[in-house]
Chain length 283, copies 2
């Protein structure tokens, strides 16, 4: 069959594969100082946002990614109050974090304000908590923001970044993780999206090493499906200053008072189980 321009296609050269979604129409395009934002309506996945031609999110499956980036990390910290989100301009991560009623602040540090403004227009449900009094927006460079943050000034840092190329490359470096380590309190938790276990094992290994070198004694990986990202299988990597990275507040997770569609207590535990080839690659 022919994949023509009635489809949106993202090729993944390192995987020798491509994923396509059938389109209704392209509805928006904007070149910002940082990147090209495009919005499409698809047949099956609802609204799609791409940045520089790479899938960021769709209506249909973003819940898996956002829930898995946020809830395991927040239930790992013993008492999270002060959360920092680096990237995440679509605000889906912010919304999930704000579901935790005990948070005091979520600092949203996104380099490109236009991503957030476009998300407010095309993904209004993800932005429904943008006016929450606990949310504080900083449209600036996340690497510098964390480096300038006061020591021990936050509990959880969530890195909701694009792939490790271009402006986001620094978010995968030991220097950035060292800034995070300093900015985090005694029981601080860092979590970052970390690509595909099938296509990007070397990246995951490098992140592990960089986080350990930055001072984090414990690193764990969460696995989850993500249909619209390369290989359809994704990870988040979680590093802890003190708490065991695989430990979490199980009772609180089981008794959570907010709705989720993917995450639950059993899924949290299950996401930390690693396939044999993954364990062997990391050992």
């Amino acid at each position: 069959m022919a994949i023509d321009n009635s489809w949106y296609t993202e090729e993944c050269p390192e995987g020798g594969s491509a994923f396509s979604m059938k389109l209704k129409e392209k509805v928006y395009e904007e070149q910002t100082p940082y990147q090209l934002i495009e919005i499409y309506e698809t047949e099956f996945f609802g609204t799609l946002m791409t940045l520089d031609g790479l899938v960021m999110l769709t209506d249909r499956d973003n819940f898996i990614y956002h829930e898995m980036l946020v809830h395991p990390a927040l239930f790992t910290h013993p008492q999270p109050r002060r959360v920092v989100v680096i990237g995440g301009g679509d605000c889906g991560t912010l919304r999930e974090a704000l579901r935790h009623p005990d948070l005091h602040t979520v600092e949203m540090v996104e380099i490109d304000e236009r991503v957030t403004r476009v998300a407010e227009r095309f993904f209004p449900e993800l932005c429904e908590t943008n006016n929450d009094s606990r949310a504080r927006f900083h449209f600036t460079d996340g690497i510098k923001w964390v480096a300038d943050a006061a020591p021990e000034s936050c509990d959880v840092i969530i890195v909701d970044s694009t792939d490790p190329v271009g402006p986001a490359a620094g978010l995968y470096s030991q220097a950035f993780y060292a800034s995070c380590f300093t900015a985090l309190g005694a029981h601080g938790v860092l979590v970052a999206q970390s690509e595909s276990p099938l296509y990007h094992l070397d990246l995951i290994k490098n992140m592990r090493s960089a986080m350990a070198a930055a001072g984090f004694p414990e690193v764990a990986h969460l696995h989850f499906p993500q249909c619209t990202y390369p290989s359809g299988w994704w990870t988040a990597t979680l590093a802890c200053k003190k708490t065991p990275a695989t430990g979490y507040r199980e009772h609180a997770a089981a008794q959570k008072t907010f709705p989720t569609r993917y995450y639950n207590h059993s899924i949290h535990k299950a996401a930390m189980a690693a396939p044999t080839f993954f364990l062997e690659a990391l050992s």
Copy 2:
């Protein structure tokens, strides 16, 4: 970018999506009385077999599917000796089953002998145990074979079938599951591939109902990534005559004496954790 004929593409109409693999070349094609077999060499996934234009397996990722179809079911039965594989002509399922040293027989019931002959040529590693004295090949209709089987004559039935269209449709029916129930011994276990939790929830619900109506009191679902199948996320559905479907021989799984690349004791348990939307759809 253009997806031209230097790619193999499988469209999934019900998902409004398509998955493509970069090709080196097409190396074989045969129209059998049942289906069109095609073999390609790909850039990243090694050798690819398609049947009637749908991906059956690739060198790179078939281990996940084959291990998850076989090992959870065999560790769920308390003492499996007599296994039946319906379909599975590529012999990857047979090979995984034969890794269990205590099996006495594996009856391979594949309707299309040509699939096995072509697999012997292009996927020799999957066929390396075809001459094991415990393997018995029957190139015939699996539905009829199970219906004709003596009552309580097998311990585990593994349905490694194509999608529920064409000749495989009957393998998703209550009548077939009832034949399996009769053919299975007192602690019998049935496991069947059951498509994507993101795209095919209705099918999974129907399989559940049909298995229950056929007499199985316990049904469980195993979730796993499968990059080259639609949505990249797949399930197997497991039904038990007596054993709890979510219970299994944990000690034996943890102490297994054979190698695997995806499956392990933690993955077995984790694969049974269901996302909230999945639990809600099934309840």
